[in-house]
Structures are given as C-alpha cells and as structure tokens.
C-alpha cells in the first residue's frame, strides 16, 4: 500500500486551485479553493492511485463535516483499511 499521506497531499496539491503554497495535514479544507470539478477529479485520482472505491454521490456534499486536509486523509485511510479507529 502506498504512503497514503504522501499520495493524498500530492493529489490535493494538484487540484487545489485556490491554495497558495503546499498543503499539509493542518490546511483547512476551506482554503483549498476546490470546486465541484476538482472534487470529482480528486475522488477519481484517489480511486485510481490507491485502488479503493469511494462511496460518493455527486448530489451530496462529499466533504461532510471534514475541516482539514488531515480529516480527508484519515477518511481515505479508513476506506483503505488503514484507519486508526
């Protein structure tokens, strides 16, 4: 299994249109400047690179109550079976 933290940070950096600088686990999701297109592209990249399936319905807010990039990474780890909880 790839280093999920590194893969996720790279994917997010590629699609965070509004972000100045490099994202870290502490970066607020609100600062990423991602739009509906970017969310769909991030999910696709995550699925491709980590070989997982993200249960996502485009009619719902895929970010839920996730506040930081770290929350996003942990949610993906959960799906990849590497969650801490």
């Amino acid at each position: 299994m790839a280093d999920i933290d590194a893969v996720m940070l790279e994917i997010i950096a590629n699609h965070a249109v509004g972000l100045a600088g490099t994202p870290s686990r502490d970066t607020p999701v609100a600062d990423l400047g991602i739009d509906s297109f970017a969310i769909v592209e991030i999910i696709y990249d995550v699925e491709e690179k980590l070989s997982i399936e993200i249960p996502f319905n485009a009619n719902e807010n895929p970010l839920g109550d996730m506040k930081t990039v770290g929350d996003l990474i942990d949610a993906v780890k959960e799906l990849a079976g590497q969650g801490g909880g």
């Binding site: 249109v17 297109f37 592209e41 696709y44």
Partner: protein, 406 residues
C-alpha cells in the same frame, strides 16, 4: 419591441490566425493555412495524414487560459480564447457595476462538441481498460462552451448551444440577434467553436469521401473536396441603443437573417433551400448597386456544394448576380465546420470595414457551373454597402447572415 442589433466585438482563433488581426491579415492576403497533418490513435500504430488547417500554437494558447479552463475540452478552450478577445475588443468589463450580467446572453454553437475528450475516454477504456475521466461528460456535451463562457464572464442571461453542423455559428448569431431584437437581452456573445482534428474524427470524415487530398479549391473545376480546419469565431452583438449609449465601436448592423431546411437529403444540398435562405436575409437590405455587395460563400470546395451555391446565389440575387463580389475564405482557413460561419462573419465584417474583398485562393481552372465572380487568388478593393455570409450544413440546414453599415 424591435431593436436594431449591431456588432461591437470580434474574436477569432483558427489555423489562419490566433486573433482577429492575424486572421484578417492572412485571409485578406490569401495566405493559405492548409498543411498536411498527422493524427494517431494513442497506444496503437494507427495514424491518418491529411491536409488540414490546424492551430499550430494551440498548446501555448490554451495554457494561457488559466487553470479553470484546463479541465475543458479543446473546443471549449477555443471558444474561451475567441470569447476573451471579443469581450476585450467590445470594451466590455463584465466586472464593472455598469454591466448587467442578467441582460447578457451566450449562444455558442458547435457541430460536434467535445470530440477529443470523448475519443480519449473511449481509447483509454477500450485499449487499456482504463476508466473514463470523470469529467468526460461535462467536457463533451455540446453546451459546454456556452456554459463555460457564461461562468467565465458571469453572464446570466439566455445561454445555450445551437447545433446545425456547418451552419451552427450562423444560426447562433442569427438567433442571438433575434433575442436582442425582441428585448430578451442587451448583449450577446454568439458564434461557434469546433475542434475535431482527432484520429477518429478524421477517419470518419475520410470515410465520407468528401475530403480533399490536397488544397481546398472552391469553385475551381479541379476542386477535390473540403479541408477540415478548427477554431472558434465569436461576435459581440448588442442592441444599437445600448451600444450607442456607451459609445461602443460598431463594425456593422445585423440586418438580415434567413434560415430554413432543404427537407430533401442529408448530404446533397438543394438549390431551393439555399436560395430561399438567401432571399430571406437579402429581403432586409435596400440594395441600389449589387457591385457594392460581398457574399462570403459557403464555398466548401466539394463537387456538389459549389455549383449548387452558384445557382442559389443567381436565383436569390437575379440578373445582377454577376456584379457581386463573391469569395470562399475556406480556401485559406479550411472548413471550421460548426465554427465556419463565425470566422466567415468576421471576414465579412472586416471586408465591410476595410473595403478589401478577401480572395478565393488555390483557384486555377474555371468551371462553367461556378461562373460567378469569385475573386480568384488576389484580393480586391471595393467600397461595400452590405456583406452576406452563407452557411449551408449537412442535413440540409441553411443559415444566411446579412450585415450593413449603421
């Protein structure tokens, strides 16, 4: 409510030029943009080489659009390049307080839509078992350009795509004019965009046996078919009162718009349809001297179109048809398919404003069935009162625009 509609901005990108100035310099000087081009099918040894009129600097132009448009198909990116130029040329600032986005329309046609995105998705899926990119649908849909331009500029008036093959741009411009005329908007960005120079598309066109294997030679007896180009041509149309109030530069007035269907055949054009659409457009003009009228012909360079169009022009204009200046600028910029009527309307308006009739180049053998004065090979100076742009599409759909001075 019936308002006069004028043209206040122009934007073009195609094989003959990256902007309107470059386009017009090449079209009026007859610098043919047709070259052999090769397209391959990714991951295979399949390829096709044909004469095409491609935008050589496309990658650099597209990357200049910025990140938001990097996720659009090439046809939408071409529309954005032409759109940026047209908005700037019209002196419009969509961010200013004086600008009313709810009264601004975006009517952007295309013959096909996102051919490249669709082809990439299918190639990846069938050759490599790769899932299609999740934005494939949003890149492909024929309204992507209309939607992306409305988002880019914040326009919130009427917005939609028109698709009528090679008449898409002329239909879009005519319908946008009607929307302004009837009070549905004050300003519209209108025209069309096309980007189908892909392996799959070129093979499909080749299968129709309608493509030239060398230059495009409209009205010349040795013509061998059409040559496909790519790009976008967009106009800013504006209510005359609105344009006057803000002191806008005016290229001309959209006076006549004729449209109809042959109702006969998918491939072969019918004289009656073409002449009927021309008659509708010409009925809005008060012509005192047909020698001061220029017709930018559909002039595809196919065996069927050119004599049919010649007959149609003769019927629509009557005994004065020999006084007309006619030319096909497709001989320079190729056939932009859906976008053809956009760049050709621009060529027509530039002719009206400069008094230069752009030539039909690559002409070297008279055809008795194409016996109008088609301005062979050399541009001509002529004071013009009116210009007419013909678009006659596969499927027998006709649209004709007529512009005059304000």
């Amino acid at each position: 409510m019936s308002r006069r509609v004028v043209v206040t901005g122009l934007g073009a990108v195609c094989g003959a030029g990256e902007n309107v100035d470059e386009f017009w310099a090449n079209v009026s000087n007859g610098n043919c943009a047709i070259r052999d081009g090769t397209r391959t099918c990714a991951g295979t040894d399949l390829s096709v080489t044909l004469p095409i009129a491609e935008i050589e600097n496309a990658d650099a132009l597209v990357s200049s659009l910025g990140r938001s448009l990097s996720r659009a198909d090439l046809y939408t990116q071409y529309a954005a390049l032409a759109g940026d130029e047209a908005i700037k040329d019209a002196g419009l600032d969509p961010q200013s307080e004086a600008f009313d986005p709810t009264r601004t329309a975006a009517i952007i046609g295309t013959g096909i839509g996102g051919q490249l995105a669709l082809e990439q998705a299918y190639t990846g899926m069938l050759r490599k078992g790769r899932r299609p990119h999740p934005l494939t649908i949003l890149k492909t849909i024929p309204n992507a350009a209309a939607s992306q331009l409305s988002i880019r500029f914040g326009f919130r008036g009427p917005a939609f795509a028109i698709s009528s093959a090679c008449a898409s741009a002329a239909h879009a411009i005519g319908v946008a004019g009607d929307i302004i005329r009837s009070g549905g908007a004050d300003i519209a960005i209108a025209g069309a965009s096309e980007a189908v120079l892909t392996y799959g598309s070129l093979e499909a066109w080749k299968a129709m046996h309608i493509l030239s294997d060398e230059k495009c030679r409209p009205f010349s007896k040795n013509r061998r078919g059409l040559v496909i180009g790519e790009g976008a041509g967009l106009l800013i149309l504006e209510a005359h009162d609105h344009a006057s109030k803000r002191g806008a530069k005016i290229y001309g007035e959209l006076l006549g718009f004729g449209m109809n269907a042959d109702g006969v055949d998918m491939i072969n054009p019918a004289v009656e349809g073409a002449s009927g659409a021309m008659e509708q457009a010409l009925s809005a003009l008060t012509v005192s001297d047909w020698g001061r009228v220029y017709v930018n012909a559909h002039g595809t360079g196919t065996l069927m179109n050119d004599p049919t169009e010649t007959k149609a022009i003769r019927i629509a204009v009557g005994q004065d048809a020999d006084a007309l200046c006619v030319s096909s600028t497709k001989s320079v910029h190729g056939h932009l398919l859906g976008a053809a009527g956009g760049v050709e309307a621009i060529a027509s308006l530039k002719a009206l404003n400069t008094g230069t009739i752009p030539p039909t180049v690559n002409y070297d053998e008279p055809d008795p069935e194409c016996d109008l004065d088609i301005t062979p090979n050399e541009a001509r100076e002529r004071t013009l009162d009116y210009v007419v742009s013909n678009s006659f599409a596969f499927g027998g759909l006709n649209a004709v625009l007529a512009f005059g001075r304000v």
